[in-house]
Symmetry: C2
Subunit: 521 residues, 2 copies
């Protein structure tokens, strides 16, 4: 679409002013755009239309989609708590294809390689486009301009916000429930495909016109706890299996074995300790990647040594976080998703391991959320530039391969730390300008590489705090220059067409950057 209208946003990025036929607002800066209007308002339901027995079960997904009135052009949502083991999203679009429905918008909370079959549905016209993260093959498909519509990537909080604000109207939500009752109450704590919690589907349950719960573990009412409330649910149906449990949660999560990554993890923990962020009653969040887990283990040891206890840690939970909870190193885990079996067990058994949702944790258009209360967060990035701007969705070759997850939302933390290798596959991670802007540099405080730590010059307080700590603090430009020398120069620029294939929303719904179509080589 060479004739699409572009404008330069407050981050200096050229972004479209219209996406999939709807006007969008260019990014205006951090904490600048003020929403107007009211929350989305679903139609008022009536118990006249619900069975007195409370039994909303029907034969299968296809029948439920028909009962929900599926038709061309609708938006159908799924959640990703079953991660790369999910069977439900594929079953939904297979049923839609059988029903002959076309041009659906798929609105997953994230998509995974196990859903690569959606490419066929896009080619056959069942799916028009995807709004949601596209990890792996779907991202690549989008990168090469093969999707009819424009992809819209939102953070977890941004997705909740978009639904709440009415930017995205979900016609039919299909919610995989590892345990559910005939009324539609559901949770993820038990059953053959237990995934811990169902927070990513909260917005869908609250705001969709029609809500379908699919389970492989139907129990008598009441299904306790009701992480998804049956009072929002229209139909319940069963599948023999909703997922492959081995791909939903890991048996155990693994720490990194790479000496460089271990060094990065340890430096990150030392930074948190030496700056005094690690103190009684503090809080932190880290992911479930190898470096993040190693950071957590180093920090636990430092907390034990200093006799320091956290008030809360935020999951994605793993065996390491649950060990912290059980050892008394934290009062609470506030958890957005469980990454291993220990996480699921702990959430099931320990009332201080609390399930959260993008509403509680990340929604920027709420009366506050949890993210800014975090004393520090430890996150990843595919690229960081000399102004501390960061990218998490594309690689330097321009390929869209990752979703945003909670990453943008977490930047609200009091101290955002990116422990990253300075290069990957001999391509520098530190760059002059990120390929795709996902997080503004003013919100990113520290980059920790195997070559030293770079602290954002805006954070004079942190620069003072580490003085004398012995930590190898260096200007980001210096580390970058060293890496470029080692790798033989900066990464090559991606070879792109003009056409925008996806946009990146900021937490407030404005468009912070656009992803352009890759040339086929």
């Amino acid at each position: 679409m060479p004739d699409e209208k572009l404008t330069r946003n407050a981050a200096g990025r050229m972004v479209p002013t219209e996406v999939n036929g709807k006007e969008v607002i260019p990014y205006k800066g951090v904490a600048t755009h003020r929403p107007t209007g009211v929350r989305a308002a679903p139609s008022v339901a009536t118990c006249i239309d619900s069975p007195d027995s409370g039994d909303k079960t029907g034969p299968d997904i296809k029948a439920a989609l028909k009962a929900a009135g599926i038709r061309d052009g609708m938006t159908v949502s799924t959640h990703h708590h079953l991660r790369n083991g999910d069977f439900v999203a594929n079953a939904v679009f297979a049923a839609a294809a059988e029903l002959g429905v076309k041009d659906l918008m798929w609105f997953p909370s994230a998509s995974f390689p196990c859903q690569a079959g959606m490419i066929e549905h896009m080619e056959n016209g069942v799916i028009h486009h995807i709004e949601g993260s596209m990890n792996g093959p779907l991202g690549e498909h989008c990168s090469y301009g093969k999707m009819k519509g424009v992809g819209v990537l939102r953070s977890h909080g941004g997705r909740y916000r978009a639904v709440q604000d009415g930017d995205v109207h979900i016609d039919i939500a299909v919610i995989a429930g590892p345990t559910a009752d005939p009324f539609g109450n559901a949770h993820g704590l038990t059953g053959p495909t237990a995934c811990g919690l169902l927070g990513f589907a909260l917005a869908d349950s609250q705001y969709a016109d029609k809500v379908i719960v699919v389970t492989d573990n139907l129990i008598d009412f009441p299904c306790i706890p009701w992480q998804i409330q049956g009072n929002y649910v229209d139909f319940v149906t069963t599948m023999e299996s909703i997922g492959d449990s081995s791909k939903i949660v890991s048996g155990t999560t693994q720490i990194t074995k790479s000496p460089d990554r271990l060094r990065i993890a340890e430096m990150t923990a030392r930074f948190v300790r030496d700056t005094g962020i690690m103190r009684d009653g503090f809080s932190f969040q880290c992911g479930a990647g190898g470096t993040a887990l190693s950071f957590a283990i180093f920090l636990m040891e430092m907390m034990r040594e200093a006799n320091v206890k956290a008030r809360f840690v935020r999951g994605g939970s793993t065996q390491y976080l649950t060990a912290m909870l059980e050892e008394g190193l934290t009062d609470y885990i506030l958890d957005g998703q469980t990454f291993d079996l220990e996480g699921v067990r702990s959430m099931r058994e320990n009332p201080n391991h609390v399930n959260t949702s993008p509403f509680t944790s990340y929604n920027y258009h709420g009366k506050g959320n949890f993210a800014p209360m975090l004393d520090c967060v430890v996150l990843g990035a595919t690229e960081v530039d000399v102004n501390f701007n960061a990218n998490v969705v594309t690689h330097s070759d321009g390929k869209l391969l990752h979703g945003i997850g909670g990453w943008q939302n977490c930047l609200a933390s009091k101290c955002t730390i990116l422990p990253i290798p300075s290069f990957r596959n001999r391509i520098p991670v530190l760059v002059d300008e990120v390929t795709t802007l996902c997080g503004p540099g003013e919100l990113i405080d520290v980059v920790v590489t195997e070559r030293g730590l770079a602290i954002n010059p805006r954070r004079e307080d942190l620069l003072s705090a580490v003085a004398g700590s012995g930590l190898p603090v260096r200007p980001i430009e210096e580390i970058k220059a060293e890496v470029e020398a080692f790798c033989g120069g900066p990464p090559a620029k991606p070879d792109c067409e003009d056409r925008v294939v996806a946009v990146i929303e900021w937490v407030d719904g404005t468009v912070i950057d656009a992803v352009r179509q890759l040339k086929v080589k």
Copy 2:
């Protein structure tokens, strides 16, 4: 207002077509009125307006009301989980009076004698009128036409519905939280004024423009569990004490000692057993009055004898229900309010003692609710007529003295039983026509009096089920005639003016009856 427009509704009652300046819909029959339109849609908030620290605390209620923008004519809501020990509602209107605000609508989930001081606020013009149950002195005040506006009585489910549907727009909700954190998360499980749960305030938190949490037990974030979610809360403030704990929950709940009431309770339990309602996996709900408690005790014994286990029982919980749970006579208590200290303890400690809300249990404009799933409910009434229509709000003298509570919502049960004395203070309870219609006779299945049981002729199945049980089943007219002979005739008709002082809403928001002003004698 002799010129107010009245119409005859489907129950044959003359009701106004306009209440407090708003058009209302006359009752159309059970499961007949279909809502149109969408749920109320509060303004979209933004984190720009919330402190990054998550600390929303301010000095006092007065400051919070000012910050919330209180002004003349607004609707201010409170909840009644602190029952007759509540200090918060009085403090709110004292502060409003000090601020010089006039003509507020007070929208409590229920009001109690401890709030009789509101009469002064009505006389001084601070409060224009009350929508919500008016137990005791406030009801009497309303009965004599001393309130400026018309009272609107709604069931617990009807109140949630009214807020959800936008019939009542809450400008400022003040939520008493026995334990709360600076972000506004709150629960009722612990603290000096623990009341168990906060479900009656759920709608207020979700839909009010501004939400204030008041606590006397402020703890560090996070307050777990967040029965009220801080993400809905604007301001948090403290009082030295939010209530008198001895009047919030009883130390222990008491069974009846009256031989007649015991006989009624035992017959009710025998009815539930002998009709086969009491069977493995069944469910029931009963209140916390003396007769209801005795019923529960008799039933427990019968369940033990027959080795029968319930799937769930619904609270208001008491020591007797918690004993059932702990003894394994039920899998779950699904609880709307805790009536004694044992109820609070059990809810705090036992994950199978589950807090519910009017949304889950009673909202008629949801995708179903819990009420119709109950195998039986045991409720009270002030009057029942020969067509099984029942009254719970006025006495035969026309005085408005009670709220509806969950009573109307519970009528959806598969078997509604009213165990009631056939007369009180030598005034018959069985009548030709109820003074105020609160529940249509077609939903009331059995009346159990000390003179025998009357089964609604519509329920031929129940009549068959008790045949041969030896239970003293009698036509309702026969019991009524016997009582009238004993009491010296039917109750005298109340001496009323034409003016409507209050209306009774049905669960769907239509007006089922009106209460008229009493003549001053």
